[in-house]
């Protein structure tokens, strides 16, 4: 079975400060990892993914994430937060061993609030 944990329901950060949104995962094999962002009344918007290769992944809007196999983590980061980054962020995983279902398993989400 695969699972994702996002331990923080909400993260508050001041505009211009760095932000981190935490994610840990559990899979039996090796993971594919994703971050999505959701704005009010909108679907999920893809930010970035880790498939293989470099552990530091860069994505849209200045976001990046670091895959850490030993800690089974994939934390989302941004060097300087913007008020417009305020949204709901979801981490998701798929086990590479899963050649059948291919569905993503999502965390419960972390609400990011960036104060001006």
């Amino acid at each position: 079975a695969q699972s994702v944990a996002q331990p923080e329901d909400q993260v508050n950060v001041a505009e211009g400060n760095p932000l981190t949104v935490k994610c840990t995962y559990s899979v039996s094999g090796n993971p594919y990892l994703f971050w999505y962002v959701q704005y009010p009344n909108r679907g999920l918007q893809f930010l970035l993914k880790y498939i293989t290769g470099d552990n530091l992944v860069k994505g849209s809007y200045g976001f990046e994430a670091e895959f850490n196999k030993s800690q089974t983590s994939f934390h989302l980061k941004k060097p300087s937060a913007l008020v417009s980054d305020s949204a709901l962020y979801f981490c998701a995983v798929r086990d590479r061993k899963d050649t059948g279902r291919r569905a993503l398993t999502f965390g419960s989400g972390t609400r990011l609030q960036v104060q001006p």
């Binding site: 909108r42 918007q45 993914k49 279902r101 569905a103 993503l104 989400g109």
Partner: protein, 113 residues
């Protein structure tokens, strides 16, 4: 028309009514997924199609839920005899054949009264 589209965006149903939710995936995308997102939760898998074949329906919560994709493009999720617990956002996602990223539509928000 580059993205995934869903209709209707909002649906209010009386308990016991049948509803049909439509998904238009990105053109050429082989794989199509349906997820259910309850309020304050992350999306949860319902069912998966590869072309017209429904390869996994293990996430459908009851036999009142039915999905189809007869021509391998547009998909419809049907819920019969809706219950209040069916109230949620229903998200559709599609994925191209050679990549892992799923692209999501805006969702249909279903409210069952």
């Amino acid at each position: 028309g580059a993205g995934v589209s869903q209709s209707p965006r909002y649906k209010v149903a009386k308990r016991g009514q049948d509803v049909a939710l439509r998904c238009d995936p990105i053109s050429g995308h082989v794989s199509l997924f349906w997820y259910q997102q309850a309020l304050g939760q992350g999306p949860e898998f319902l069912t998966y199609f590869q072309n017209e074949a429904q390869l996994d329906k293990s996430g459908l919560p009851s036999d009142r839920f039915f999905a189809e994709r007869p021509e391998g493009s547009v998909s419809t999720l049907k819920i019969q005899r809706t219950q209040q617990e069916d109230s949620a956002v229903y998200l559709c996602a599609s994925r191209g054949g050679q990549e892992e990223t799923q692209y999501f539509g805006p969702g249909t928000r279903l409210l069952v009264l």
